[in-house]
């Protein structure tokens, strides 16, 4: 119990408390999920300022709809990913010709001054890889990012994407084929 007599917020009760209008419980959920949602959005769109904007909208929308949220035994993050997925689709629809922003400021790449050639090579490779990822379908992008950024299992991804585990395995295989084809088209060879 907390000092003021309220129940302590835990992973198990946070969603229930937040649905009941507890702002601290929502803050708890926010802190647990904000970085992963930001990452997912950032890699999907490639701009930190737009990623911040969409991340804000995801949490405002979640906050505004908490009272109608129904727990169905799936992680709370699955709902947030779904909101993010829809907002990203809207963003792509509205900003088809928007310019992408370089990723170098945020990524954990070797520093320019240490090994400039290695840094440049790795950065270019990453940009090509990301360009390839952004050329495949939204579902496939989502799967690749959840698998490699979040290190989620097929079962967890299936829950988030509302599909069976078998469907995810099949989608993953198709995603790799599509990604390889896109990479070849843009002149990238993964050796």
């Amino acid at each position: 119990m907390l000092d003021n007599g309220r129940n302590e917020i835990t992973d198990e009760n946070a969603v229930g408390l937040a649905c009941g209008g507890d702002p601290e419980a929502f803050s708890f959920l926010y802190e647990k999920n904000v970085t992963r949602i930001y990452n997912y959005i950032y890699y999907r769109i490639g701009s930190s300022s737009d990623a911040e904007d969409i991340t804000s909208r995801v949490f405002y929308r979640a906050f505004g709809h908490m009272s109608s949220y129904v727990e169905k035994g799936v992680p709370f993050s699955a709902w947030l990913y779904r909101i993010a997925h829809n907002l990203i689709a809207n963003w792509h629809r509205d900003n088809q010709r928007r310019k992408e922003v370089p990723l170098e400021d945020h990524l954990d790449l070797p520093h320019k001054s240490d090994q400039p050639e290695k840094w440049l090579e790795k950065n270019q490779e990453l940009e090509l890889l990301l360009r390839g990822i952004r050329r495949i379908s939204a579902d496939r992008q989502q799967l690749i990012l959840l698998k490699y950024l979040e290190n989620l299992s097929n079962a967890e991804i299936a829950t988030i994407m509302g599909r069976s585990e078998g469907a995810i395995k099949s989608l993953y295989h198709r995603a790799l084929i599509a990604l390889r084809e896109e990479m070849e088209q843009i002149g990238y060879q993964p050796e």
Partner: protein
């Protein structure tokens, strides 16, 4: 036994998976943004009205009708005073 084509295919997938694993690393969002969003959320009422283009359209039409009616009333009023 796998054909040469399948072996090449699997190798190519393995390389691509390895690249994805090695290159897709989480980024660090700006802590100022994270803190400021948290503060804004904690000071926001739980019911949020999202803006809608439909509502904006209705508002513009309503404002236009009101302005028209007001102008008409003023003109009628001025006319009455002159008479």
């Amino acid at each position: 036994m796998q054909s040469r084509f399948e072996q090449m295919n699997n190798k190519s997938f393995f390389n691509l998976e390895e690249k994805l694993y090695n290159m897709l690393k989480p980024v660090r969002p700006d802590p100022v943004f994270i803190d400021s969003l948290k503060t804004k959320l904690s000071h926001t009422p739980s019911v949020i009205l999202e803006s809608s283009k439909k509502n904006i359209g209705l508002l513009v039409v309503g404002a236009g009708l009101f302005a028209g009616a007001l102008t008409l009333w003023i003109l009628t009023y001025i006319k009455k005073i002159r008479e």
